[in-house]
Amino acid sequence: MATQTLASSQGGSTAGSVVIELAHVAKRYRGGGGVSDISLSIQQGEVFGFLGPNGAGKTTIIRLLLDLIRPNSGTIKIFGLDSRADSVEIHRRLGYIPGDLALYERFTPREILTHFAYLRGGIAWASITPLIDALNLEIDRPVRAMSKGNRQKVGLVAAFMGEPELLLLDEPTSGLDPLIQQQIHEQVRRVAQEGRTVFLSSHILSEVGEMAGRVGLIRNGRLVAVENVIDLQRRSAHLIDVTFPSPPDANFLGAVEGVQKSEVTGNVLHAEVTGDLNPLIARIASTRINDLSIREPGLEELFLSFYEQPHE
């Protein structure tokens, strides 16, 4: 399986040195689960997305990178340093948002950010204020009275402050409203433009697609594949429902490029399309329709495509 693919990363970034290097890493938990035989290397300037269902092992990998937990076997190097022996030096150069972010409830964001700016090596407050302003974060209300979105903004500022070389973001947008999600995407893109490295996890393909250049697919603790995000999106079928004023011809999409399956129930035509959508849209535009919906496939369907047609 293509676990060591060093495909070119997102356009524009300079391919630099290797920032994250995992070799045959395994971590087993007493109650079961964990990850096994993970090998992966991530270049400087990449935005790497880790995609997989909940419980697949995404958080385990991020916690291993941070030395919060230790592997049973294998080696982890970050910036060429040992994840355990040199953890303090590594942590000096990275920012992190935990998956289930918890903040010191009794303090205000101003107090929490002051604390983390000090712990992260004395980051000047003046360099933090642009981030606070960009996210429009209220910093003098106690955290316990804040919404989930605002809390996540506090975590975001705490991670992004001081312009770290590497950002580890564990499901950074999970459970947030679209506006805040957009703000986070924006920050990640800005970081990528500056040639810094981002490692993020998600269970939503479209979200990873918005931010990442390469994607690692993880399921049941195993890295199933590492793909360029554009290839991945091309590979993943779109699910199309077209509603016509009257029952359509079963062969309506017969000759259209990219259509994998199509079937008719009543006035509705269901189809699966991979690759370019334009031929399909052109075909539909030639007639009158009542409704059209295009859905992204679920993760399960995506993973299945890797099992059905093993990647060389």
Partner: protein, 272 residues
């Protein structure tokens, strides 16, 4: 609103830990001071009262030893019985055990430890700063105890002298800190606040029982030295002042526990 300024006095883990409990710490200080004041206010009516001495004679000896009842009518005897036989060391120890467990296991249970350990601060330093915070708060409560008794006592004709008073307060403080550190250590090793508090609380009670029952039960006497309570109060500090040997045992115990805590914390897997 002024966004251009950092918050003041909230930098190190030490500062943040103390800031987190400042209200509760103020409550503990007020409570300890109030308890001492009430007892001091009652002292003039007991001082030199022969009837009280006789009252004490009525108790069987076993009971007097069990509850550390001693000559009630002198200042030292009054403090020994009313303050240092049980209540003051107990209050300090409860505070230290509750907070010690919270400093390690509590932060883990609230999951704020993830972001904390991802900063460039070694685990060893995290533990040491937290322990220093525990020390400072326990010493602060002890100082309140000492100052209220030492400064306000004489107003109620209770004089014991600073040296014996300091010796018994030091014993209480080190006793509390031993168990507070133990709670911190169990918390660092297990991540469970309940376990840390339960185990340590039970041991604190056991050490008190060994020490007091040894006065009554002959076969327990050779085991008295295993009790930290004995090392804190066994040499009757209110009469004999400081006993460096005994207090050194408590200090050594604390040092060993701190080393153990850093080792356990360093090896932990913080998964969830």
């Amino acid at each position: 609103m002024n966004r251009s300024r950092a918050s003041r006095g909230l930098h190190t883990i030490f500062e943040r830990s103390l800031r987190e409990i400042r209200r509760s710490l103020a409550g503990w200080m007020a409570g300890i001071a109030a308890y001492c004041l009430v007892l001091l206010a009652m002292y003039p009516s007991i001082h030199g009262n022969k009837d009280f001495s006789k009252l004490l004679d009525v108790f069987p000896e076993a009971m007097r030893k069990l509850f550390n009842l001693s000559d009630y009518t002198t200042g030292a005897g009054y403090l020994r019985t009313e303050v240092f036989s049980f209540i003051a060391p107990l209050l300090l120890a409860i505070f230290a055990i509750l907070w010690g467990a919270d400093l390690t296991a509590g932060e883990e249970e609230r999951r704020t430890i993830d972001a904390l350990l991802a900063t460039p601060v070694s685990r060893r330093r995290v533990i040491l700063e937290k322990w220093l915070a525990l020390c400072s708060a326990t010493v602060l409560l002890s100082v309140v105890l000492e100052l209220v008794l030492g400064l306000i006592g004489p107003l109620f004709r209770l004089h014991v002298g600073w040296a014996p008073l300091s010796a018994v307060v030091a014993g209480s403080c080190l006793f509390a800190l031993s168990f507070g550190t133990m709670a911190m250590t169990v918390g660092a090793g297990t991540g469970s606040r309940g376990l840390a508090r339960g185990v340590t609380g039970a041991l604190a009670v056991a050490t008190y029982l060994i020490s007091t029952l040894a006065q009554l039960v002959d076969w327990l006497k050779p085991w008295e030295w295993t009790s930290l309570w004995y090392h804190a109060f066994g040499s009757d500090p209110l009469t004999n002042s400081f006993n460096v040997g005994h207090l050194s045992v408590l200090v050594a115990c604390i040092v060993v526990l701190v080393v153990l805590a850093t080792m356990l914390f360093d090896r932990r897997d913080f998964s969830n």
